[in-house]
Symmetry: C2
Subunit: 322 residues, 2 copies
């Protein structure tokens, strides 16, 4: 890790190597799948890095495991804490369970019961808040003060970014001669990890971020040259509603070639197409890259493109095309 | 091939080797996936042979390709024909398209438009019939007489069975020390192929067939010692409604350890569980084996069990749990 001028702690590629060694026993080296149908449709050669097959169903387990298994012995008893209603909460609960330490999760009481059950299933301890930022922050502060647990932010944390960076490290080992990698962007943890790895081991590979048009704060930030955060964007890609923070902005600003967007209907169509043609279950969030590739054929035609499928935790009772 | 006393042509393991060499350029060697969650749930070690990732979305492309690519030159011009509203029609169209020969498919006019579109997409030529056995047979006879096409039965055909047998040949190469293999049974093509391969290369491996309780003609045939065919069983596992025929009965009677059954709800639950936990799209038909494993824990506990996931062609608009 190194400090930059604003005294943020910036993870380095040495941290990625250390993270990979640390988390390897707790994660899958997920497969890279291809689809001749989607190659024909896009005119590109697509290599799907399938983190939907990852432990706990998403790439987030990489960063969460790196944080949990990197804790020093004196921090174990108090455990970890986070606020999240999504895959980070699941992943942190999973990792904490593997290490046998407590994991405190602040979740809105309105979060789907299935998500709460999944967190509890991995051993997480839920404290409910009201579905507002102010309530979430107040409840989280109370939980952290009461428990003394180590806060693991879903993305604005150097340990988390170093962990997520192991995903594109595997992708680059599994797939030769990539021209570009495209991944969804919400808070920017996956994209930052991708930047961290590729800028070190394959700086010639272009990095594209894919965002819902309905939650395009990262695309607008990119054009404006500073972080723009929206209050409560609404999109089917529910993992991508959160804004960039200073640490992820550092990587996005420095290494991303472009941030592309897709409409809700384009995202749903790309999600359905992936289920139908590739026979894999992916979240709406990770259909955004394919939707953007279909929207920008000239950018990707003839190129070898890594596509990060970030997760597969889907509520099967409410599919967006039904 | 060899003739038995009733002058059926019975495929041999040499036919399987020849089939595998013949079809290898046209099929995927599909992966074998595992799920630590399902292993814990069942107490068995399950190895899922994922033919949902197969070309045209199902194992049927193995048998269809073997028939199509085994045709002699003088038979090419007239092409192939079949009656099917399911994966065999798709697969035969795919294989015929790869060889550049006509493929005539008789389908009920009431078949889902998505299935018709898929057959047409692969280049198949559809002739519609009424949704009754008598109409189907009459129309098929007319088509065959008019075109002179070679009839490729969905399962009661030695070329088809030799082709399906390549699936368990791969499974046994990919997975060491299997105690048992379980696969769905409808007409018995996959199970017959499994019997053909395993009885030759791994006779110690037990073979279980899995059938919907609502269409349990194979299980009743097995107990009665003769083929019992139902007229029109109704089950969510729509690939498994057809009865055994003499060729598949030959293999089932000789090599199958048991035929187990599952209710409609058990099948739907196992299908949903697979989608949720393994993040793969599978048909209701190939959820029947997992449902049967869950129904018969004492049979499979502690065993290494190959599970054939036969296909992934699902109508995403009408999922059985919604």
């Amino acid at each position: 890790m190194m400090k930059d001028e604003a005294s943020m702690i910036i993870p380095t590629f040495d941290d990625v190597i250390a993270a990979h060694d640390r988390i390897r026993p707790h994660i899958h080296r997920t497969p890279v799948l291809t689809s001749s149908y989607l190659n024909e449709l896009t005119g590109a050669e697509l290599f799907f890095k399938c983190e939907n097959f990852q432990k706990a169903g998403a790439f987030k387990v990489r960063g969460a495991s790196n944080a949990v298994f990197g804790l020093s012995d004196d921090m174990l008893e108090k455990g970890v804490a986070t606020h999240s209603s999504g895959n980070h909460a699941l992943s942190l609960s999973y990792a904490a369970g593997r290490r046998g330490i407590p994991c405190h999760v602040v979740m809105p009481r309105t979060a789907p019961q299935a998500k709460k059950d999944a967190v509890i299933g991995y051993g997480g301890i839920i404290t409910e808040c009201e579905p507002s930022t102010s309530s979430r922050e107040a409840v989280f502060t109370e939980v952290q003060e009461r428990t003394g647990a180590n806060f693991v932010h879903p993305y604005n944390d150097p340990r988390v970014i170093a962990g997520q960076a192991t995903c594109s490290r595997e992708l680059i080992e599994q797939t030769e001669g990539l021209d570009a990698v495209i991944a969804p962007i919400g808070g920017g943890g996956m994209i930052s990890g991708t930047c961290l790895t590729l800028s070190n081991v394959a700086p010639e590979v272009r990095i594209y971020a894919a965002e819902p048009k309905n939650a395009d704060d990262a695309a607008r930030s990119f054009r404006a040259g500073k972080i723009i955060a929206d209050d409560a964007p609404n999109t089917v890609a529910d993992g991508l509603k959160v804004p960039l923070k200073e640490l992820t902005w550092h990587f996005v600003e420095k290494h991303v070639t472009d941030i592309q967007t897709a409409t809700e209907q384009e995202i749903i169509d790309a999600m359905l197409l992936t289920w139908q043609r590739m026979k894999i279950v992916i979240e709406a969030s990770c259909a955004v890259p394919l939707a953007c590739i279909l929207n920008n054929p000239d950018v990707f035609r003839g190129k070898r493109v890594g596509v990060v499928i970030t997760g597969g935790n889907v509520d099967m009772k409410t599919l967006p095309w039904i």
